[in-house]
Amino acid sequence: MIIADKNTKAVDLVRAALDRAKECEDYHCFISMNEARALERAREIDERIAKGEKVGRLAGVPYALKDNYLSPDGVTTAAARMLDNFPSPITATAVARVEAEGAIMIGRANLDAFAHGSSTENSYFGPTLNSYDKSRVAGGSSGGSAAAVALDIVQFALGSDTGGSIRQPASYNGIWGMKPTYGTVSRYGVVAMASSLDAMGCLAKSADDINLVMSIMAGKDPKDSTTIDDFWTRELEDAKPKKKKIGIISDFLKDGIDPEVSKTVLDYAKKMEKAGYTVEEISMPIMRYGLAIYYIIQPAEVASNLSRYDGIRYGHRASDTTDLDSIYGKTRDEGFMPENKRRIMIGNFVLSSGFYDAYYLKAQKARTLLVNAYNEAFEKYDALLCAVAPAPPFKLGEKTDDPLQMYMEDMLSVLANLAGVPSVATPAGKSKSGLPIGVQLIGPRQSDQVLLNIAKNVEEAA
């Protein structure tokens, strides 16, 4: 990470980031830019450095903020018409923490509206293009964040991960992404999607950069009662795995997995062996049900969280509405994207009387089976290895007509969220046509730094 000091001016770092953002405008990484405020903050930091004052660990580092983190300098849209006029009155805890260390937000990054999607094509403002191939998707939902890092506009970006939304776009753009243990980073001030699954994390180009940003964001926050005590306290070199044993989830090496992706996973396993790890295949049949479990629990929580958008207290209000029912109904019809509506309706379906036991309760029980399978595996292994996504980045428009095909994208990434365990996505190779392919390491709760340590070791040994 390049940090401002006596020789490197924050203003120059910010100007370079803004210039690069302009050069890359056609990728549509950003929904809005924060140029004036970013330059003003950079000048303040440079003045403090000139006076010999202490500046933070991210002094003058430009970053991209996924536009579902609330921050008062502008409008927080969540990439939805529902919030396209929403000047946030509060600051997300994660934003406050990185900014207190001197990081400078240069713009708000594009996402699928309300973080519902795997390609950023569900954004009300249009899709983000893949940094390797403009005819392909950047992944999602943190597609803007991932492309902005991959295109060297910013050194890191904040993202949110409910079922893969940090890791899949990271993988699609050949960079690193961290979905931490549930409760590591405060969810306060981030537009809520599915509260038992949402995890705030970051995207960057190395394990060390991820480690630095996460160590700043992690820790208890009285404003989010599910946050846990700060465990992100070690130097990365000290977070060594105890067993040096890794399990490859064998259920995800064929059926439905692109052969080039499977080969990349197996090649990565060989690199792990070279780095001194024992790697074995482990069959975990329950993981094949992960996606079905996720697409019950997540929409149920989405339906509940998105019920707050009423066109009355804040956000979009449809015109020509006179009574309360039409304010609600028309506002929500106009303010939500089709995918938001599908999720809300599926959520209300699985929660409705007559279907609750067969779907929602069943899924929560199946979730227990999945958690048990993890616990058993982690008695033997430091981490589990599998791909992040079943195939390399797909073409724009390829899956927009078939929501279920889009959901299949999340088959491997939802598994960590359902159990609240950490997962790091790391670049692992390229397809024959030169598209990036990533793998993920999933570990027990609070082993986040161990996962980064392992992935960094493997990268260095290769």
Partner: protein, 95 residues
């Protein structure tokens, strides 16, 4: 199970979304596909298994009942509404 037009209309009511005619058929098809997919959980034996509603064994998280200053002031919050009067949010007549 198959999702019917009536189901879509009922879910739209539960969801407080006014759908126009042209959204109904595509939604019926998409929701039906999704429900068919998630129905595969029927294959799993979950007899006697406790549900997992959240992943940490947290129970109630208590805090002292202290009034704290909120970071945004009342006027800022009221300015987000479409209609307000005398520090109150206005809504159409309900009763």
């Amino acid at each position: 199970m198959a999702i019917t037009t009536e189901d879509v209309l009922h879910l739209a009511v539960l969801s407080n979304i006014s759908l126009d005619e042209k959204q109904i058929e595509p939604l019926k098809k998409d929701l039906d596909n999704i429900v068919n997919y998630i129905s595969q959980l029927d294959e799993l034996d979950t007899e006697g298994i406790e549900p997992t509603y959240q992943c940490f064994d947290m129970q109630n998280v208590w805090r002292e009942d202290i009034i704290e200053e909120f970071e945004a002031d009342r006027e800022d919050l009221l300015s987000l509404t479409v209609e307000n009067e005398d520090h109150q949010i206005k809504v159409p007549k309900v009763l």
